[in-house]
């Protein structure tokens, strides 16, 4: 029972982790807390339904198309909305993403309606036995996908020119610019990547929680909380935080009752921030006087 709770906690946690990674990379490269991150995924989920049901594509082709669309969405948002105000203070950037959140919500409701929809692909309901713990196939797939994406991101940041450039922009934007790194393009890439990740999250989470314009609100909040674990800066911290939240809320849900799931994440964040305001693996910048 315990092992099972932990395992499915890790499965949900891995989706929070992906969201958190997207939040972190956008924040550290652009100072923007992206409230619309969840909505990229929501749009992805709806597109998934369209491709699967209306166009009759198979699952993998759908994933491929959805991810491309979401990447374009993220990049488009950067190019059209965020770039003109890129030099504003963080509050302006943040509230602008609220505007994007409204627009995407409204669009989804307008085009696809406000009712919840079931996602057509449902996994084989027979659970798989892993060392005595039963896990549903959906959860297992999600975990494997998350691992694969995480691995791909790791390779991207460490072994590709663009990935290294992106890290350089994170560390010191001005220096990176002077070194000839195309900062603008990297920022565009960052948002595109946020969309890319959101595409996966949307299509992976849709079979579990049904599709509606509000479907991602809670996931997003947990993704944020996880990102704060990493001080909004460290990807590793965000992933650890996300997995912790996934497991903790699943345990709380299992032993205290399902109502306590959301409260768990909040309690964890308050406890963490009370002890370490800079996050679990945060980097506190020296105050300039």
């Amino acid at each position: 029972m315990l092992g099972q709770q932990i395992l499915s906690g890790l499965a949900t946690g891995s989706l929070y982790a992906l969201t958190a990674i997207a939040v972190v990379i956008v924040f550290r490269n652009t100072r923007t807390i992206n409230l619309a991150q969840g909505d990229f995924a929501m749009i992805g989920a709806y597109l998934g339904i369209v491709f699967l049901k209306d166009w009759g594509l198979n699952y993998y082709a759908t994933i491929f198309l959805v991810v491309i669309c979401c990447t374009l969405l993220g990049a488009g948002v950067e190019r059209l909305i965020m770039r003109p105000i890129a030099n504003s203070d963080w509050l302006t950037l943040f509230t602008t993403t609220i505007g994007i959140y409204y627009i995407l919500h409204g669009l989804a409701g307008w085009i696809w309606g406000r009712d919840t929809k079931a996602f057509p692909v449902t996994f084989d309901p027979t659970p798989i036995d892993i060392g005595g713990a039963l896990i549903s196939q959906g959860h297992l797939y999600n975990m494997l996908w998350a691992l694969a994406i995480g691995g791909a991101l790791y390779c991207f940041f460490n072994f590709t020119k663009q990935g290294v450039a992106m890290r350089a922009v994170t560390d010191d934007r001005d220096a990176a610019f002077l070194m000839g790194i195309p900062v603008r393009f990297i920022v565009l890439l960052t948002w595109g990547m946020a969309g890319f990740i959101a595409g996966f999250v949307g299509i992976l989470i849709a079979p579990i929680i049904y599709v509606s314009p509000e479907m991602m609100d809670e996931v997003l909040v947990k993704g944020y909380v996880a990102a704060v674990f990493g001080g909004l800066y460290s990807i590793r911290g965000a992933v650890i935080g996300a997995l912790l939240i996934g497991v903790a809320e699943n345990l709380a849900g299992g032993y205290l009752g399902s109502h306590f799931k959301t409260a768990t994440a909040f309690a964890m964040i308050v406890a963490l921030l009370a002890v370490r305001p800079q996050g679990l693996i945060g980097i506190q910048k020296r105050r300039e006087v």
């Binding site: 924040f27 100072r31 807390i33 909305i81 003109p84 105000i85 504003s88 963080w90 509050l91 302006t92 943040f94 509230t95 602008t96 609220i98 505007g99 994007i100 959140y101 409204y102 627009i103 995407l104 919500h105 409204g106 669009l107 409701g109 307008w110 406000r114 609100d217 809670e218 909040v221 944020y224 909380v225 990102a227 704060v228 909004l232 009752g257 109502h259 306590f260 959301t262 409260a263 994440a265 909040f266 309690a267 964040i269 308050v270 921030l273 009370a274 305001p277 996050g279 006087v289």
Partner: protein, 352 residues
């Protein structure tokens, strides 16, 4: 050179400067008087409008709803506009105010006025406690923390039995100051609350306390060097802000005599209020008025096209942030303010 008159050692003002100062102060008083007259006329109109023929109960209720949003936005404007913090969780305080008043009314049959005051106090108290956790955080972290708080409140009202979850609490008819009131009476209660809140915010902003807030907003280093205790003033501002939003919450519970988790567990409230402030103009008293009007009336006029209203809201928000970051009210009032500033500058810089 050294004069030992008023403050030992400081230079005394010479006659010319003194005279110039008097003229400036006369102007300042005059501007303030004009503002007061404008506000008085505005509120007089608000008071008289329901007496017009053809005004129906639902119209007045809709107006009360606008007033509630304006009050809530006023509360958040103290944070966003004056001390430079942000909260994405003020819906939580709205809920606290609403449930405090609702529970008191249900179990102790208290007066509406008592309910409002209780809602304000409880909300302000919880705000002060939360502030001690959140305010150690820098801006971005705080936004996320407050968002989590709104979710937490939602979970609580959904699951703790006394709040009766999605079934909600049905309240008896409103009784204010011993009289049973209907839609019109409730409207007057809201208007009076709004007037009091506005006066209170005006007093804060135009006092040393408000200066301390704005000092923290503009330069934390200089503020600390001036002796402003950052934690104390942030807590104070957060608590005041929560208290004012609590008033709005209490009113919101009584406008329909019903509270339920369906309404208050939603983070839309939080986002809507924040948006009202940003669109209207956070650092100007009139800003929340416009913002509240916008946020309530847009869905009202586009009732059939709720999703389109969403899109429009988002577009307006983005446009305001792109082209008028200080808010719509600031843009509208800028000509008057520029005129006044020029007048003062003229006098100050005029020949000695």
């Amino acid at each position: 050179m050294a004069q030992e008159t008023h403050t030992p050692g400081l230079m005394d003002l010479d006659a010319a400067s003194r005279k110039k100062r008097d003229i400036i102060n006369t102007y300042k008083r005059r501007f303030r008087r004009h503002d007061a007259i404008a506000a008085a006329i505005f509120f007089a109109l608000l008071f008289l409008t329901p007496a017009l023929p053809g005004v129906k109960g639902w119209m007045v209720s809709e107006a009360s709803l606008v007033v509630i949003y304006v009050i809530a936005a006023m509360g958040i404007s103290i944070l966003v506009g004056y001390i430079g913090l942000v909260s994405v969780g003020h819906g939580g305080f709205l809920a606290i105010g609403a449930y405090t008043s609702a529970l008191l009314t249900k179990y102790y049959a208290v007066d509406l006025v008592v309910g409002i005051i209780a809602g304000m106090l409880v909300s302000a108290f919880i705000g002060a406690i939360l502030a001690l956790v959140f305010l150690r955080l820098s801006g971005a972290f705080m936004a996320i923390g407050t968002l989590g708080f709104a979710f937490f409140v939602g979970t609580v009202v959904n699951n703790v039995p006394i709040f009766e979850g999605r079934d909600g609490i049905l309240l008896p008819d409103n009784v204010a100051l011993g009289m049973e009131i209907g839609d019109f009476g409730f409207y007057y209660v809201s208007i009076v609350s709004l007037a009091l809140v506005t006066i209170f915010v005006f007093c804060i902003v135009n006092s040393g306390t408000g200066r301390a807030f704005m000092a923290l907003r503009d330069s934390e280093n200089a503020a600390m060097a001036s002796g402003v205790n950052r934690l104390f003033y942030r807590t104070l501002a957060f608590s005041i802000s929560a208290g004012i939003t609590g008033i709005a919450g209490a009113l919101n519970a009584h406008i329909v005599n019903y509270v339920s988790a369906e309404v208050y567990a939603d983070i839309w409230f939080s986002v809507d209020i924040l948006m009202a402030v940003v669109v209207g103009g956070p650092a100007i008293l009139f800003g929340p008025y416009l913002g509240g009007l916008f946020v309530v009336m847009l869905p009202f006029f586009l009732e059939e096209l709720a999703d389109f209203a969403f899109i429009l809201k988002g577009v307006v928000l983005i446009l305001v942030l792109r082209f008028a970051q200080a808010g719509v009210a600031e843009v509208l009032l800028r000509p008057i303010q520029n005129l006044r500033r020029r007048k003062l500058l003229e006098v100050a810089r005029g020949a000695k």
